[in-house]
């Protein structure tokens, strides 16, 4: 459990919970605006309908991939997605070959060639997804090879077979290995469906996205249970193994339909990065799906923007005016990675920066409370207490500057009055200090009563716990203890009020 989000005095959990959605969307929008502005600055190339269709196709492909990706990430099988991205290669090639052979044999006309090829690829992918999963399991169980090594052996083998097939058949069937591996979305969008100005790839990806959404909607419960606890899902009558194979088949089919847009290697980015980014921002599966779809679409958009603006911006000053744009698919992966980094740094609850800020804030508030408690105890002993910052630092421990900032914070909230170099408690500060010391001494009494600890072992623990004892807990402690006049050291426990 995150310490700062439990019972910290700031109650940061509620605040962050409120702000979460807004912070996430704001940071995402800010990024999109930034890249738009980038384009405004660098109008190297007019935005035309091709750009729009490129983004649309890429976004649909990315979103279609993100859906199975969520479940792969949740099941900790992301590398299975990587493996599938490689193993679909022989499937794609064989589908090409079958469609070509059918055309040669005169079974299908060249007009329907593409749709036949797509159907063949789709079913080939379903098969090869399950085959890769089964082969991996087979090597793993039969050979007792470690899981990741088994995966490595299987996917490199199938990928090598695919590469050999491409080389062997290169003159017979036109498959450009570069096109299969890296995807050339810029030319894919030129290939439109008949009678309409819509790229075929956009239609295919859109249909796959719809199918995946439908599958997720229908099997949401089953997917959720089998992702989080395969044992329970089996006990409830949902075959986790079958779910695994089904997920592999669907993933492979999605990858195959997306490969034309983003290439069979870069689909991994679209598969895993959005889901992982979403995982940094939320804990709920439905939110996770929604955020990963958003991130997927956004990385497609940003990727294309970056692809047409960034290279010229970087390389023209370096003396390469020939460099105008770059590969959209590659930049999509980079954009997805960028969004992941942003989420990892600034995610409201789990972000590195947010956690550091929370931590620093908690540390500061504890130092401030320690100062109040210290001044109160000194007043208790000698009537008045006024200390300089370096004296406070020496007595509390730690460095000077956190104490300095804590004192400044206390002074601005009116809890501490500064007189020259020295600071002393104000009335409101004294009230707060009283409650703190009360919490401290109540806890000491409670421990002495129930934990059977010697008197010299009580202070350290109480000094930690005092910052986390709210009014309710103090009341409960007081009710639990019969005698709340004095603590085990014989010092007075200040009353809650007055």
């Amino acid at each position: 459990m995150n310490q700062s989000t439990t019972i910290s005095p700031n109650d940061s959990k509620r605040r962050w919970g409120y702000a979460r959605v807004s912070v996430v969307s704001l940071s995402l929008i800010a990024l999109a605006v930034a890249s738009l502005a980038l384009r405004r600055v660098m109008i190297a190339k007019e935005w035309d309908s091709n750009d729009t269709w490129t983004v649309a196709t890429a976004a649909l492909a990315a979103m279609a991939c993100a859906l199975p990706g969520v479940f792969l990430v949740m099941r900790r099988q992301s590398m299975m997605g990587d493996a599938l991205a490689h193993t679909t290669l022989p499937g794609i090639v064989v589908a090409f070959l079958i469609a070509h052979a059918m055309q040669q044999a005169g079974w299908i006309s060249s007009a329907t060639y593409d749709s036949w090829r797509h159907a063949a690829m789709f079913f080939g992918a379903l098969v090869i997804g399950v085959v890769s999963a089964i082969l991996t399991e087979w090597v793993q169980k039969l050979g007792r090879v470690e899981a990741s090594a088994a995966l490595g052996v299987v996917f490199t083998t199938l990928f090598a077979v695919g590469l050999l097939l491409i080389r062997l058949k290169a003159d017979q069937v036109h498959i450009d290995p570069d096109c299969v591996l890296y995807g050339i979305i810029e030319t894919t969008v030129m290939d439109t469906i008949p009678n309409a100005d819509v790229p075929r790839a956009a239609v295919v990806n859109g249909l796959v996205l719809l199918a995946n959404l439908l599958l997720v909607a229908i099997f949401f419960k089953e997917l959720r249970i089998s992702a989080f606890d395969p044992a329970i899902s089996t006990a409830m009558g949902i075959n986790a193994q079958a779910m695994h194979y089904a997920l592999m088949a669907v993933t492979a089919a999605t990858l195959v339909s997306a490969f034309e847009s983003v290439g069979s290697i870069l689909v991994i980015a679209m598969l895993i990065a959005p889901a992982a980014t979403a995982h940094l921002l939320t804990d709920r599966l439905d939110h996770l799906i929604a955020i990963s779809l958003t991130v997927a679409a956004l990385s497609a958009f940003m990727g294309h923007l970056m692809a047409i603006t960034l290279p010229a911006m970087v390389f023209t000053p370096l003396g390469y005016p020939e460099v105008v744009d770059t590969n959209t698919a590659g930049m999509m992966a980079v954009a997805a990675g960028g969004l992941f980094v942003v989420a990892a740094l600034f995610g409201p609850r789990y972000g590195v920066v947010s956690k550091a800020i929370d931590q620093a804030r908690l540390t500061q508030s504890i130092i401030a409370e320690d100062i109040l408690g210290l001044l109160y105890r000194l007043e208790e002993e000698s009537g008045t207490a006024a200390l300089a910052i370096n004296q406070l630092t020496a007595m509390i421990g730690g460095r000077t500057w956190p104490t300095y900032f804590a004192v400044r914070g206390l002074a601005s909230s009116g809890d501490v009055a500064t007189r020259g170099n020295n600071c002393e408690l104000s009335d409101s500060g004294r009230e707060k200090a009283k409650r703190l010391v009360r919490a401290h001494r109540l806890w000491e009494s409670y421990m002495a009563k129930h934990f059977d600890l010697p008197a010299d072992h009580l202070h350290e623990t109480a000094a930690l716990v005092e910052h986390f004892l709210g009014a309710e807990l103090r009341e409960e402690l007081a009710a639990e203890l019969e005698d709340t006049a004095e603590d085990p050291h014989g010092r007075l426990i200040p009353p809650e009020q007055g």
Partner: protein, 506 residues
């Protein structure tokens, strides 16, 4: 060109030619059974062009200068990859090699651009490109570690993200390189899928130097890496610098990846790290031997792959090398003497046979037990009685068919002798063995009752599971522990009633 590593590399080349030639020729499998070939043929109508006999001999005897160069370089790569792969496999980091290899892509492009900026036209300098690749591979590892350290993302997703994002950045940069006038002919694309044909002597030297360095480092730090692979927590508690050793291992993996870029390409180099190491595990349980076998498998796999692709020009070397390695893997998985499937199946069958034998002997003993005097030597008394199959039927919950088969096997191995139709008598040998089996069983039961605090009605089943595995020294210690209980008996009495109902397993 006269530096010490260069000379050592050259020496290695000479040695490799000397050794590689005969061993390579011997290890060459018959061509028409090669699976890559079979696959290719089954999936296509047209045929590969068969090499002429002259071509085959030319290739096998390494008469071609070009083949020789490529074969030497790739074999050394295979050896180094096999050795490093064993340690990554044991550390369960096999797929980290995949991440490193994909991450090298942007490094190659950036190195090209930087070198081009320093000296126009100098971007193709191979060592520079490889250093760039190496650094990018390391950056990939560092990113993975950072993600694991600072976020809640699990290892699998961290690997996949780093791999794909670096690869995407590489693709984008490659397009940029191609747009630069001098970049379009740089042939950087060869690093992705490998192109052995473009390998020249200078490249082989680089491979030789790096492989040698890797092998020497592994050799020098063998003990440390062993400790790291098997129990890194223990090693850490002993004060070994685990983090630095781990990093060094990653450096070596990145080194293998980088020298593999040219021959198999970055998409497949991970196979050279995983497959030989995984295959070697089937042959030995000892790390030293496993490492040697992995080096051998990696080297010979690469060597054979190069020769095959040299004979069939249409088969690209990279995939063929990988598939040759996979053939070695499949052979190892089937026939490996330590963990191979065949050996394990045979051992399982042996154990099953032993269990069946012991069951029948114990049934015979326990049937005859009431008719014997327990304080006199049992073996001599046992051989005097005749038992029929129907007598034994109620002793255990076995089917009549299984009982008949077990009796037949026991008769064949001379533990019992058939005296009349359906009647059997224990032979002296059988009686002694039965005596020992029952004694083990009872000792174990007593031990379970005495020390494991198991109810007498439940011990039979537990003892049934374990008795077949009792080693003589365990029996001895049990005897010592329990001898005072039954000082005069060679077989202690059964602690429970003997019939099929008391026994829960078949």
């Amino acid at each position: 060109m006269n530096s010490v590593p260069t000379r050592i590399g050259f020496a290695l080349v000479v040695v490799a030619v000397w050794f590689g030639n005969p061993s390579g020729a011997a290890a060459e499998p018959p061509h028409d059974t090669h699976p890559s070939r079979a696959t290719a043929r089954s999936l296509s109508r047209d045929r590969l062009e068969w090499p002429s006999w002259d071509d085959v001999t030319r290739t096998l005897l390494l008469r071609d200068y070009n083949t020789r160069i490529v074969a030497i370089g790739t074999t050394m790569l295979g050896v180094a990859a096999g050795i490093v792969g064993v340690f990554t496999l044991l550390r369960r980091r096999s797929l980290l090699g995949d991440v490193i290899s994909h991450s090298t892509l942007p490094g190659i492009a950036i190195a090209f651009l930087v070198m081009e900026a320093i000296e126009p036209g100098g971007g193709k300098w191979l060592p520079g490109l490889l250093i760039g690749a190496w650094l990018a591979g390391l950056a990939g590892i560092v990113c993975t570690k950072l993600i694991l350290r600072f976020t809640r993302i699990k290892e699998d997703a961290a690997l996949a993200i780093v791999l794909s994002v670096f690869f995407g950045a590489g693709m984008a940069l490659f397009k940029v390189v191609q747009d630069i006038p001098s970049g379009s002919q740089a042939g950087l694309n060869h690093f992705i899928l490998g192109k052995t044909a473009s390998m020249v002597l200078a490249d082989v030297w680089i491979i030789a130097e790096v492989s040698l360095a890797i092998v020497v480092i592994i050799g020098l730090l063998y003990k440390e890496f062993t400790l790291l692979s098997f129990d890194d927590k223990f090693a850490a508690s002993q004060g070994w610098p685990i983090f630095r050793l781990d990093l060094l291992l990653m450096l070596l993996v990145a080194g293998v990846t980088v020298i593999g870029l040219q021959s198999v390409g970055l998409l497949l180099v991970v196979a050279m790290l995983i497959t030989p190491a995984a295959a070697a595990r089937f042959w030995s349980d000892r790390l030293g031997r496993t490492t040697l076998i992995a080096a051998l498998l990696g080297g010979s796999g690469a060597f054979c792959g190069v020769l095959i692709s040299a004979m069939f020009p249409r088969l690209a070397a990279g995939p063929v090398i990988v598939l040759t390695g996979v053939c070695f893997f499949l052979v190892s998985m089937s026939f490996g003497v330590r963990r191979g499937v065949v050996v394990r199946v045979a051992m399982h069958r042996q154990l099953k046979a032993a269990v069946g034998r012991q069951h029948i002997l114990r049934a015979l003993f326990e049937f005859l037990e009431p008719q014997c005097n327990p304080t006199a030597p049992m073996s001599a008394q046992l051989v005097n009685h005749i038992v029929s199959a129907s007598d034994l039927q109620p002793m255990r919950s076995w089917t009549p068919k299984r009982l008949r088969r077990l009796l037949r096997v026991a008769e064949r191995s001379d533990f019992i002798a058939a005296v009349r139709a359906g009647g059997y008598r224990l032979t002296t040998r059988g009686a002694e063995l039965a005596h020992r089996v029952v004694r083990n069983h009872r000792l174990w039961e007593l031990y379970l009752i005495e020390y494991a605090d198991i109810a007498p009605s439940h011990v039979d089943r537990d003892a049934d599971d374990i008795e077949h595995l009792l080693a003589p020294d365990i029996v001895e210690s049990l005897e010592q522990l329990l001898s005072q209980r039954y000082p005069h008996m060679t077989v202690p009495p059964s602690p429970h009633a003997i019939d099929a109902t008391s026994e829960l397993t078949t």
